[in-house]
């Protein structure tokens, strides 16, 4: 992620900004989501929009893209005031958006996805041919090479994102909004994305990059707007700021970007895995003879490009996925042979914070209190006689919220109403509160803001220092390097190498992630 010199402005200085927001204001009930937001994005620039989860970035972009209507304020495109009441109107005004969760029809081809909604006639053939020619041009000009006839579900996540960008450009977007685009990408794919964005900038497009990752802002943007609690708190030229300065603006106080920790004091072996194998429904081995152990008082990090067996390993250990062979010894039991379910494993002291919080870790439509007992709902402390002890459930949730600084501290609020960071803190609170011996934790800070990342990292290290064993799976190499005492690298369903933290460098891990074995690399 090297920083290129900023592109020379491709538009004359007196040209109106590509997108200008004036006094945008929006309330949702009692929540003042946007307070008189004013900022402008010049054509031929990349503008960063940064802020913690819940700062109002997504609301603002959803207003610009027509999902929400502002209570007050004005949106101007190329100097003209426009009325944007729907995504269709936004597209007509030349605004395109790439959502964090892609909006693609998975079993359609790339070409079909791009023309979807703009087929240009009753018969597909003509529109598809025209689109093919146009997309060829776009691909040449922007380096947006995509196999047009491939089915979307067979593409990598990085390529799917490229299809989303193509969709926006094909519809004539001059302003391109990307909402947390790197959340699903490997570091390499993220670099490719940034190169693409720089080319779009060179062509005079205005790009808005919504993110909470400081590194990305520093790497690729020209200017950056910082939001906090619905308001703009700073707008600066990127070259005149630093990650630390931005973080302080975002959180409103000085933050530690790297949590301090003492060297690990590993103790007795708590969990050991021998020759563990997991096959998927088609009988393909996703995990091939994996062996390792976890000791008290250490954090073992699993590094690897997403999809190399980390998820399967985590799920096989937690019991949400059956292992086909091998041995998991924990608490004097063999979890594989005894086929213990997640509940039984939890009872033995094996807690699990799943990788995909919304898919597996919580029920979004339920209250925070209900979510705070998920998996522990049978525990005596939450039941009295045959009935749930509602007072105890609420009190336990309130206590967890206080201890883990979950905001707003309202146990009866629907979980979906909390920001990602606060949801994750609640999940973490639930699992740590059960006092486990071993904590399995996947992507602990995915979709989590900086203030919460610092908090979560501190809690994980505190747990380690209390003599627990942690297995950390993360696609963020920074996170592995910041937390792990020992690093296992996975590739193709195998553990391809092990490094002590002291010996680990990004280069060494990167090589292993790409499949180069530790033995062969000097």
């Amino acid at each position: 992620m090297s920083k290129e010199p900023a592109a020379p402005p491709s538009t004359p200085p007196d040209a109106p900004p590509a997108l200008e927001l004036r006094g945008i204001d929006k309330r949702f009930g009692a929540v003042h989501a946007n307070r008189a937001i004013t900022f402008a994005v010049a054509a031929g620039s990349i503008h960063g929009l940064i802020g913690e989860n819940g700062a109002g970035k997504s609301t603002l972009m959803n207003i610009v893209y027509g999902f929400h209507r502002a209570d007050a304020g004005e949106i101007r495109v190329q100097g003209r005031a426009v009325e944007i009441g729907s995504p269709q109107q936004a597209i007509a005004a030349g605004i395109g958006m790439v959502h964090q969760h892609f909006m693609l029809v998975e079993n359609f081809t790339v070409l079909e996805n791009v023309v979807l909604g703009v087929e240009g006639g009753a018969l597909l053939a003509g529109g598809l041919a025209a689109a093919r020619a146009e997309l060829g041009r776009l691909a040449r000009d922007n380096g947006l090479e995509v196999p047009l006839d491939a089915v979307v579900s067979e593409l990598s996540v990085g390529l799917q994102q490229r299809v989303e960008i193509l969709k926006a450009l094909y519809r004539g977007a001059e302003v391109l909004i990307l909402d947390e685009p790197t959340a699903v990408l490997t570091p390499h794919e993220a670099d490719q994305l940034f190169a693409m964005l720089r080319r779009l900038r060179a062509q005079g497009k205005a790009v808005i990059l919504v993110t909470h990752k400081l590194r990305e802002i520093m790497a690729v943007t020209d200017r950056v707007t910082v939001m906090k609690q619905g308001a703009v708190v700073a707008e600066v030229a990127t070259r005149e700021t630093s990650p630390r300065g931005l973080a302080e603006h975002m959180v409103g106080r000085a933050v530690l970007l790297q949590v301090e920790k003492r060297p690990a004091q590993p103790g007795a072996e708590l969990l050991s895995v021998k020759a563990l194998e997991v096959r998927d429904r088609l009988g393909v081995a996703r995990l091939k003879s994996v062996s390792f152990n976890l000791r008290a008082g250490e954090i073992v990090g699993i590094a690897g490009v997403a999809g190399n067996g980390q998820s399967e390993l985590l799920e096989a250990l937690a019991g949400t996925r059956a292992a086909s062979r091998g041995e998991i010894s924990f608490g004097g039991r063999d979890l594989v042979r005894e086929q213990l379910d997640p509940r039984a494993r939890r009872a033995l002291g094996l807690a699990h914070v799943p990788e995909d919080r919304l898919r597996m870790g919580v029920v979004a439509g339920f209250s925070a209190a209900d979510n705070a007992i998920l998996g522990y709902h049978d525990a005596a402390r939450f039941n009295r006689g045959g009935l749930r002890d509602e007072a105890a459930i609420r009190a336990a949730c309130a206590a967890k919220m206080a201890e883990f600084d979950v905001r707003p501290p309202q146990p009866e609020l629907r979980l979906a109403a909390f920001s990602g960071g606060n949801q994750q803190k609640l999940v973490l609170a639930r699992e740590i509160d059960a006092d486990p011996q071993v904590l399995l934790i996947g992507q602990p800070t995915r979709g989590v803001d900086i203030g919460a990342i610092e908090f979560i990292h501190k809690r994980l290290i505190a747990l380690r220092d209390a003599g627990k064993a942690l297995l950390l799976v993360s696609v963020e190499l920074d996170e592995i390097l910041a937390l792990a005492d020992r690093i296992l690298v996975m590739n193709g369903g195998e553990i391809i190498g092990e490094l002590a933290r002291a010996d680990a460098t990004e280069e060494k891990i990167g090589l292993m992630m790409a499949g180069v074995r530790a033995e062969v690399s000097p």
């Binding site: 309330r27 949702f28 009930g29 989501a33 997504s58 609301t59 959803n62 999902f67 929400h68 209507r69 209570d71 937690a318 019991g319 949400t320 379910d341 997640p342 509940r343 039984a344 939890r346 699990h352 799943p354 898919r359 597996m360 870790g361 919580v362 029920v363 979004a364 439509g365 339920f366 209900d370 007992i373 998920l374 998996g375 709902h377 049978d378 939450f382 039941n383 045959g386 009935l387 749930r388 509602e390 979906a416």
Partner: protein, 369 residues
């Protein structure tokens, strides 16, 4: 924040169903007009027929009793993420259980017969729901399809039993002999007479009270027990259920057993309370109306009771209508009921989006341009 704004609770639970009902009545009114009757007079007749007299109220609540049982059955399955279309067949077979107890043990004291009849209805109904549940849980056979099929199997089975096995000897109509007096549910007018209140005799009976008890029981089960919690988790997010150590197949079977048992309550009202024998097709569509009742009642027991009374009133008012207005026959009444089911059940979301948008505009203080 791209999720659509939500309606306030009172609009969600009160206004929206009323709008749906209103539209259904307008469409029905147009049809009545075309038939040459005055819609206003017809609706007035329906309203007074259903709620204007003691007799009307009695019949309305008597019909509502069936709908409460089947509505609860659909709702419990719904909370587990299952669409049980088979309440009709489960009620039919459940009634067989109740009927058999009344026929063969009906001479025992009522205090013994009643719990046995309740139990038998629940067990027979649950057993009929078990097979589709097991097929769904173990084999992945879609429960919507299998429960529909099982309605037909239930109907065929009952026809066979009534024609060949249970029929009272020496008669043509496929019905059993009458239950003995001990196996008859006390009627409401008899019960009220005991405490000195005189009302007109109607088929309304103790089963209405049992239905209300069942509604309260369902509320407690779903929202106040850990089993209900597990059921809701499995229904809302099965991956999260697996993560929490809840077995979705087990929930599927458990929820369907409860669902079938609730549907089996219909026989208490229909057979023990009114017909006093087992006869052909006694659920007469209540299992399907239960789907509309559950949808309209938002799968909440209180909503279900309210919706069941509304549908009871439609049934009673409808029969009054076909009785008094010759141009509107029995089939026309079914059309009106069908419109209400269509608009309140199947199309209940049609007016949600415009209403939500209206509320959002009013709240943002901009009014409508």
């Amino acid at each position: 924040m791209s999720a659509p704004a939500k309606l306030p609770r009172w609009a969600e639970l009160g206004l929206l169903p009323l709008i749906n009902l209103g539209v259904a009545l307008v469409v029905a009114g147009v049809i009545i007009k075309i038939l040459g009757e005055s819609p206003l007079a017809a609706f007035k007749l329906m309203a007074t027929g259903a709620l204007g007299t003691q007799e009307g109220i009695g019949y309305t609540l008597y019909y509502a009793t069936n709908f409460i049982f089947t509505g609860l059955a659909v709702a419990v399955a719904y909370h587990a993420g299952l669409f049980n279309i088979g309440a009709e067949g489960q009620a039919y077979i459940g009634g067989l259980g109740t009927g058999l107890v009344c026929l063969y043990l009906g001479t025992w004291p009522f205090g013994v017969v009643l719990p046995l009849a309740v139990l038998a209805g629940a067990i027979f109904g649950a057993a009929w729901a078990f097979i589709p549940a097991w097929l769904q849980a173990r084999r992945g056979s879609h429960i919507v399809i299998t429960t529909i099929m099982f309605n037909f199997i239930a109907a065929a089975l009952m026809t066979y039993l009534l024609v060949n096995v249970l029929i009272k000897p020496g008669q043509q109509s496929p019905e059993t002999r009458e239950f003995s007096a001990n196996a008859v549910m006390p009627a409401a007018h008899e019960l009220l007479a005991k405490i000195g209140i005189t009302v007109v005799a109607t088929p309304l009976n103790l089963a209405f009270g049992l239905a209300l008890v069942a509604a309260a029981g369902v509320w407690i089960f779903i929202w106040r027990t850990r089993w209900g919690f597990a059921l809701r988790v499995a229904g809302a997010n099965s991956a999260a259920a697996v993560y929490a150590g809840i077995s979705p197949p087990r929930i599927i079977v458990g929820a369907m057993l409860i669902s079938g048992a609730l549907a089996g309550g219909l026989g208490l009202n229909e057979l023990m309370g009114s017909q006093h024998r087992i006869l052909m097709d006694f659920p007469s569509g209540a299992g399907f109306v239960g789907i509309a009742v559950a949808l309209m009642g938002r799968n909440h027991p209180v909503g279900i009771v309210v919706a069941a009374v509304l549908f009871g009133a439609l049934y009673q008012g409808g029969s009054q209508l076909s009785f008094d207005l010759p141009k509107i026959n029995r089939d026309m009444v079914v059309v009106i009921q069908g419109l209400v089911i269509l608009l309140c059940g199947a199309m209940e979301n049609v007016f949600r989006a415009p209403l939500t948008a209206l509320f959002a505009r009013v709240r943002s203080g901009r009014g409508i341009e």
